[in-house]
């Protein structure tokens, strides 16, 4: 069981994470929003590009529809992704720009979270996470 703290009075549940790529063995630190309403974990493409990932290596090209238009992106597997004091290897992430004003690096979505049982304690600003054993 791990416990990650966040600031309970912020507008979003912001946690730190890290993603690794072929060009940066120590990875890149991230600031992410925990979003149980997001199916996929999202990382902005600029970060993935800097780590040596290329859209041509992606599994699929995507288009995210929003009220203001269509935003292109792609799905790609990253060597390693960490958040909430746990990590996943070969995790598929969605390389997708976030709307202007979101000064974060991405979202921790369900494709990462579903590996765990987790409890968000909003008042305390803590997320308790336990890996699901299969």
């Amino acid at each position: 069981m791990t416990v990650t703290c966040f600031r309970p009075h912020d507008d979003l549940i912001i946690v730190d994470g890290r993603v690794w790529g072929p060009r940066k063995t120590r990875g890149r630190p991230l600031r992410l929003v925990v979003d149980t309403g997001a199916a996929e974990t999202i990382i902005v493409p600029g970060i993935l590009d800097g780590l040596g990932y290329n859209p041509r290596d992606g599994e699929a090209i995507t288009v995210m529809r929003s009220a203001v238009g269509h935003e292109p992106g792609y799905l790609i597997r990253v060597e390693r992704f960490a958040a909430l004091r746990h990590q996943s290897r070969n995790l598929r992430v969605h390389a997708q720009d976030l709307p202007d004003g979101w000064n974060i690096d991405g979202l921790v979505g369900l494709n990462f979270l579903r590996q765990f049982n987790y409890e968000v304690r909003s008042e305390e600003g803590r997320i308790r996470v336990e890996r699901v054993r299969v």
């Binding site: 069981m1 120590r26 890149r28 004003g101």
Partner: protein, 116 residues
């Protein structure tokens, strides 16, 4: 814009100064800062607690201390993430640990109510 310069015309780096996150935010408010040599303020910091049954192998010793609890050297600062990207790439050539963070408040973008 490179940090630690006195004018925009002279973009030379001086001796890097290690700052806390609070100091960085005060010095570069509402900007994207490119930072390197990120180190926890206190290695024994227990902001993120782990109980006795913690799976310590989960993170392979990866530093997971939030930037708010670290010190770092500011390499550059910019108004937008896009403007910061070239500085990140440049810093990657010289430092093992590089990150880019926004110093302002992280809030969802504003929206308009269509139906009051």
């Amino acid at each position: 814009m490179l940090a630690n310069t006195t004018t925009n015309a002279v973009a030379t780096m001086t001796t890097p100064e290690r700052l806390t996150w609070d100091e960085i935010c005060q010095r570069y408010p509402d900007e994207w800062v490119v930072v390197a040599e990120i180190q926890p303020v206190d290695e024994t910091d227990e902001t993120d607690e782990i109980d006795e049954t913690d799976e310590t192998d989960e993170m392979d010793g990866v530093c997971c201390v939030p930037i708010e609890d670290c010190t770092a050297v500011v390499i550059a600062h910019h108004k937008t993430r896009k403007e910061a990207s070239p500085s990140v790439k440049e810093a990657d050539k010289h430092y093992k640990e590089v990150g880019a963070f926004f110093t302002g408040r992280l809030i969802p973008p504003p929206y308009e109510l269509l139906v009051p």
